[in-house]
Amino acid sequence: MSSSKHFDEKKGAANLSQMGFQQGRGPRPGEVPKVRSKDAKGTLSRIWNYVKRQRQELIIVAVSTALTACLLLLGPYLIGKIMDDYIVARKSAGFISMIIFLLGIYFLGAVFTWIQQYTASSLSQNTVRKMRQDLFEKYQQLPVSFFDQKTHGELMSRTTNDIANVANTLNQTVVQLISSAFMLVGSVVMMLSLSVWMTLITILIVPSIAFVTKKITKYTRRYFSEQQKHLGEMNGFVQESMAGLKVMKVFGREAKSKEEFQVLNEKLRSVSVKAQSFSGSMGPMMNAMRNLSFVIIAVFGGIFAYHDIITIGVIVSFLHYSNQFSQPINQLANQYNLLQSAIAGAERVFEVLDLETEIKEESIRPKEKIAGEVVFDQVNFSYQPGVPILKKLSLHAAPGQMIALVGPTGAGKTTIINVLTRFYEIQSGKISIDGKDIQQFGKSFLRSQIGLVLQDAYVFSGTIRENIRYGRLNATDKEVEEAARLANADVFIKKLPQGYDTNLSAEGGNLSQGQKQLLTIARAVLANPSILILDEATSSVDTRTELHIQEAMKSLMKGRTSFVIAHRLSTIREADAILVIKDGEVVEKGTHAELLQKKGFYANLYQNQFSQGHVS
C-alpha cells in the first residue's frame, strides 16, 4: 500500500501521454527483453550528438525536471509540517497562509511538469526526425550492391522499430533518469532533515526490497523469453502459411496445415499460460513489497513517535518519502533494460550510417550532348572474388546503334548494364563513352544520360501521371501524355476511370505486369536520354503490343545508342549488332542475317524458338 503516489502518478501519466499511441502499458510493470549492445558508450555519445543540437530544449527539460523534483519533495514535507505545527498543535495563526503556500507549490509543480513534458516531446521527436532523415539520405547514397544483399524488411525495421525505440527511450527514460537521480538524492536529504533514525530504517529497507524484486524478476524473465520464442515461431508459421495460402489451397493441403498449426498453437497455449502466470505475478509482488515498506515505516514510525523521538507529521512525511525513494530505485532497474534495447537499436542505425557510400566525385560535364559511343575494353568483373562474371569483355557501340544482347540466363547480360550504369564498379579494363572513361563522369551525370527500363518494372504509389513524370520532373502534362503515347501506354491509361490521375496502390498492385512495363518505358522516354537500355523491358507484354512499342521505339531510338536484352528473339531482329554473351564473354557478334549464316549458338537459339512456328 502506498502512502503517497505522487511520483508513481507522474510515471503513469508520462506513460499515457508519451507512449499514447504505442502499445500502452498495463497497470502492472511490463518486462522488456534484454538486448545487449556492443559499444554502449560510443553509441550513447553519438545519440548525445543528436540530442545536443537542441541545446535550448535540453536545458529547459533539465531545469524543469529538476524543479519538478524539488517541488515534489517539498510537498510531503509541508504536509507533515502542517500536521505537526498547526493541526496537532491546534494553532490557527498562519495556518491559512501555509495552506496557500502548499497550493502554490503544487501549482508550480504542475506548471513545470507540463513544461518538461511539452519540451521533452519535441526534443525527442526532432532528434529522431533528424536521425530518420540521415538514415534515409544514407540509403540514397549507398551502392546498389548493399540493397542486393539485404532484405527490405531488414532495412525497414531500422526505420520503424529501431528508431521508434530510440524515440520512446529519449522521451521517457532520459527524463525519468534525470528526475530519478534528483528524487533519490533529494529525498535522502529531506528525510535526514526530519529524522536520522527513520532515514536509516528507510535506507536499509527500501533497497533490500528492490534487491529482492530484482531477483524475482530475473527468475520470471526466463518464462517471459520462452513465451516470446514460441510466439515468434507461431508468427513465422502464420506469415508463411498466409503468403502460401493460395498454393496450399490449390494442393488441398488445408487439413495437414491445420494439424501443424494446432501443434504449434497448443504448445504456445501451455507455455504462455505458465509464462503469464509467472511474469504477471510481478505486479502483486511489487505491490506486496510496497505494502511491506509501508508497514515497516508505519510501525517503526509509531514506535518512535511513542517514545517521542519523532512527531506524527514526520510519520506522514516518511510514508510519502519511502515511496519517492523506492520508485527511482525500481525505475533505474527497469529503465536500464529499456535503455539497453534502445542502445542496441541505435547501434543498428549507426551501423548503416557508418557504411561507405558511393563516392561523390567531381565530374566533367561535356558542353554538348553526349553522342553515345560506348566502348567496353577488356572489362573484368565479379560480384564475389573468385567467381568472375565478365571476362575480358570488349564491345563497341557506335552512336545511334541498337545493340542486342542475347544469351542464356546467368551469362552476364544484366551485369553489363550494372557496370555501364556504375551500379557496380568494374575490377579492371575500361568502359568509355564518347572516348572518355566513365569513371571521369560523375555518377549522377552518367546516369542522367542513360534511360534504364528494367524487367522488374517498379512503380511508386501515386498517380500514373506522377509515375511517368518521374523521368523528368519538370515535364508538362502534355509531354507526359506524349511519352505515354509513344510507349503505347495511353491505350490502357485512357480506359481507366480516372485516366492519368488514377492512383496506383503500393507497388502498382492494381496494374498488370505488362502495364507496369509500359509505364516504365514511358518514364524512360520522357527522360530523353542519350543512351537507352531495355533489360527485358517487354517480357510481360504480349507480342502484338510489343510490336507497336517497337514501332514507336524506332523513332525514339533514332539518334540514341540503345542496348536491348531480350529472351524473345523477335524483339531484337532489327538490331544493328547482336552480341551473344555466354559465360561472361562475347562468343558471337553480327547482324541477325550474319549470325544465322554462321550457324552457331544464335542460329541454334533461333531455330529452337522459331523452327516449329515457321510454315514454309
Partner: protein, 582 residues
C-alpha cells in the same frame, strides 16, 4: 466486444474468479491506511505500545493476504487471456483455411497476417488487463471513496466531488486525443511507405538520379509526421499536470477543512492521515484507468478486425464427395467477373465455350489482360463462374467435393511460392508421403533434377524464408515438379515458364510431352512456338474467344491469331490493324 464473447465463455469460472480475487486484493490494500491510522490514533496519541505491535503484525498479515489474492487473480486472468488468445487464433486459422481466393483477395495477405498475429496479441493483452487493471482501478477508486466517506462524511464528499470532476476531465482529454493519434498513425504510414518504396525501387531512383528529389520528399513526410507527433504529445502533456493539480488541490482542501475539524474534535488526527492516503489512492487509480482506456481503443480496433475475418462467409460451397475420373471437361457459355456484378463492362470472361478430352492440350494465347489466367483459375474453382457452367465428366464442378476436385488438378501458379523446408518437402507438398524416387522422378520431368543435385545438400537443401536463394527459373521448376508429383489427370501451367531461358524451356516441353498424352493440359503462353503442337488453341481477346482450333486452322481463319503470328514471325507488315488493348 465484437462478438468475441463466445471465446471467453469456456473459461467463465476464471472470468468470475479473477475479478473476485482482485476485489479482495484491493480490499486488503485499502485496509492498510486505516490500520496505520489506528497506530497513530491509539498507539501514538493514546500511548499504547502493545497496540502498535499488534497492529503492525496485523498489517503484515494483510499485506500477505493481498499478495496471495493478487497472485491468484493474475493466475486466473492469465488462464483466461492466454486460452482465449489461443482459441481465437485457432478459430481464425480454421476460418481462413475455408476462404475462397476471392475472400483472400479482399483481405490481402499482409492484412491477414497482422490480424492473426498482432491483433490477436492485442485483444489477448486487453483481456488480461481488463480482468486485472480494469477491475483494480475502479475498485480502488470506489473503495477509497467509500473508506473516506466512512471516516468522515463531509471530507468524503469533497473527495467524491473532486473524483467526479476528474473523471469528466479525463474523459474529455481522451476523447480529443483519439483523432490526433489516428492522424499520427496516418502520417507514420506515409513515412513508412516512402521508405519502403525507396528501398524497393532504389535502382529506379538511382537510374533517374532522383536522390535529391527523394530526400526532399522524405523530409516533407518526415516533418509532417514529426509535427503531428509533437502536437499529439503536447496535447497529452496537459493531461498529467491537470489531473495531478486537481487532485492536489483536493488534498489541500482536505487539509484545510480537516484541520478545522480536528480542532473541534470532529475527526482524529490519525484518520486525517489515512484520509490523505486515500486521496492519493484515488488519484493513482484514475491515472491507471486513463492508461488502460488507451488500450481499450486499440483492442477495440483489433477485435473489430478479427471479427471481420470470423464473420466472413466463405463464398464457395463445397460439393458432394464422389471419385472423379476427369476424362472430359467442358466450358459452357462461361462468364466471369471479379466484382460480383454481371454487367457487361465488368466481365473478364464472356461466353466462353469449349471442351477437351483426356490427351488434349488446350493452349491459351492472347494479349495481356485478355483473361487467360482467369480462365484456368476457374477449373480448380479458385473462383466460381459468374454465369454459365464448367463440367467435368458431365458434372457441374460446383457439385464436386473441392478437395477431390483440386487433388485431380496439378496447377503451377504464376507466382512460384516455396515453403520453408527442404526442396524435397516442397516437391512432395501435395503428397507428403511420397518416396524419394517419386520426388526425383517429378524433378527430372520438370528439368529440376540437375540443378538440385548440384546444390551442396541436394534434395535436402533448405529453401523458403530462411533457406538458400534460388533463381526465379529454379523456383519455377520446383513448382512444376510439385504439380507433377501428384500425377494429376488435369495439368495447368499458368505462364509458368516465363523465367526459364529458351533452351531450358524447350527441353522442358519435350520432357512433358509423354505426360501430356494422358492428361488434359491447360497451357498459357505468349509464344506461338510454345502452343503450336496443342490440339486446341484458344485465342482470347478481351475475355471472349476470338478463335479456336489447331495452329494450322487458326492461321487460316483467325485474324487475331494471324496478327500474333505476324508479330512473332512475320516481317513488319501487320495485317491486323486494330490497336490492341490490354
Amino acid at each position: 466486444m465484437w462478438g468475441l464473447k463466445t471465446y471467453i465463455k469456456p473459461y467463465w469460472k476464471y472470468v468470475i474468479l479473477a475479478p473476485l480475487f482482485m476485489i479482495f486484493e484491493v480490499f486488503f490494500d485499502l485496509l492498510q491506511p486505516k490500520l496505520a491510522a489506528h497506530i497513530v490514533n491509539f498507539g501514538v496519541v493514546e500511548r499504547n505500545f502493545q497496540l502498535i505491535k499488534q497492529t503492525g503484525w496485523l498489517m503484515v498479515l494483510v499485506a500477505a493476504l493481498s499478495l496471495v489474492t493478487g497472485v491468484g487473480c493474475n493466475f486466473f486472468a492469465s488462464r483466461v487471456s492466454q486460452n482465449f488468445g489461443a482459441d481465437i487464433r485457432e478459430a481464425l486459422y480454421t476460418k481462413i483455411q475455408t476462404f475462397s481466393f476471392e475472400n483472400i483477395d479482399t483481405f490481402k495477405t499482409g492484412s491477414l497476417i497482422t490480424r492473426m498475429t498482432n491483433d490477436v496479441v492485442q485483444v489477448q493483452n486487453f483481456v488480461q488487463t481488463a480482468l486485472q487493471g480494469l477491475v483494480r482501478a475502479p475498485s480502488l477508486l470506489i473503495g477509497s471513496v467509500v473508506m473516506a466517506l466512512f471516516i468522515n462524511i463531509r471530507l468524503g464528499l469533497i473527495l467524491l466531488g473532486t473524483t467526479v470532476v476528474l473523471v469528466a476531465v479525463l474523459f474529455i482529454l481522451i476523447k480529443y486525443s483519439y483523432p490526433l493519434f489516428s492522424q499520427v498513425q496516418e502520417k507514420l504510414d506515409a513515412v513508412n511507405t516512402k521508405m519502403q518504396e525507396n528501398l524497393a525501387g532504389i535502382r529506379v531512383v538511382k537510374a533517374f538520379v532522383r536522390s535529391d528529389y527523394e530526400k526532399k520528399q522524405f523530409a516533407h513526410v518526415n516533418q509532417a509526421y514529426t509535427g503531428i507527433s509533437i502536437k499529439a504529445a503536447r496535447f497529452m502533456a496537459v493531461n498529467s499536470p491537470i489531473v495531478t493539480l486537481i487532485m492536489n488541490a483536493c488534498l489541500v482542501g482536505i487539509l484545510l477543512y480537516g484541520g478545522n475539524l480536528v480542532w473541534i474534535d470532529l475527526i482524529q488526527v490519525g484518520d486525517l492521515v489515512a484520509f490523505i492516503n486515500y486521496v492519493v489512492q484515488v488519484l493513482s487509480s484514475l491515472l491507471m484507468v486513463s492508461g488502460i482506456l488507451v488500450n481499450v481503443s486499440q483492442a477495440n480496433v483489433s477485435a473489430w478486425r478479427i471479427h471481420q475475418v470470423l464473420e466472413t462467409k466463405p463464398n464457395m460451397e463445397d460439393g458432394k464427395a464422389a471419385p472423379l475420373r476427369a476424362q472430359h471437361i467442358a466450358f459452357n457459355e462461361v462468364g466471369f467477373s471479379y466484382s460480383a456484378s454481371s454487367q457487361a463492362k465488368d466481365l473478364v470472361l464472356r461466353d466462353v465455350s469449349f471442351e477437351a478430352v483426356r490427351g488434349d492440350t488446350v493452349a491459351i494465347i492472347g494479349a495481356t489482360g485478355s483473361g487467360k489466367s482467369t480462365l484456368v483459375q476457374l477449373v480448380p474453382r479458385l473462383y466460381d463462374v459468374t454465369s454459365g457452367s464448367i463440367q467435368i465428366d458431365g458434372q457441374d464442378i460446383r457439385s464436386i467435393e473441392l478437395l477431390e476436385l483440386r487433388q485431380k488438378i496439378g496447377m503451377v501458379l504464376q507466382d512460384s511460392f516455396l515453403f520453408t523446408g527442404s526442396i524435397k518437402d516442397n516437391i512432395a507438398f501435395g503428397k507428403p508421403d511420397a518416396t524419394q524416387e517419386e520426388v526425383e522422378m517429378a524433378a527430372k520431368i520438370a528439368m529440376a533434377h540437375d540443378f538440385i543435385t548440384k546444390l551442396a545438400d541436394g534434395y535436402d537443401t533448405k529453401v523458403g524464408q530462411k533457406g538458400v536463394n534460388l533463381s526465379g527459373g529454379q523456383k519455377q521448376r520446383i513448382a512444376i515438379a510439385r504439380a507433377l508429383l501428384i500425377k494429376p489427370p488435369i495439368l495447368i501451367f499458368d505462364d509458368s515458364t516465363s523465367a526459364l531461358d529458351l533452351g531450358t524451356e524447350k527441353q522442358l516441353r519435350q520432357s512433358l510431352k509423354d505426360l501430356m498424352k494422358n492428361n488434359i493440359t491447360f497451357l498459357i503462353a505468349q509464344r506461338i512456338s510454345s502452343v503450336i503442337e496443342a490440339e486446341k488453341i484458344l485465342v482470347l481477346e478481351e475475355g471472349a474467344i476470338a478463335g479456336i482450333g489447331t495452329h494450322q486452322e487458326l492461321l487460316e481463319t483467325c485474324a487475331v491469331y494471324q496478327a500474333i503470328y505476324m508479330s512473332q514471325f512475320g516481317k513488319q507488315e501487320v495485317p491486323y490493324v486494330k490497336q490492341q488493348t490490354f
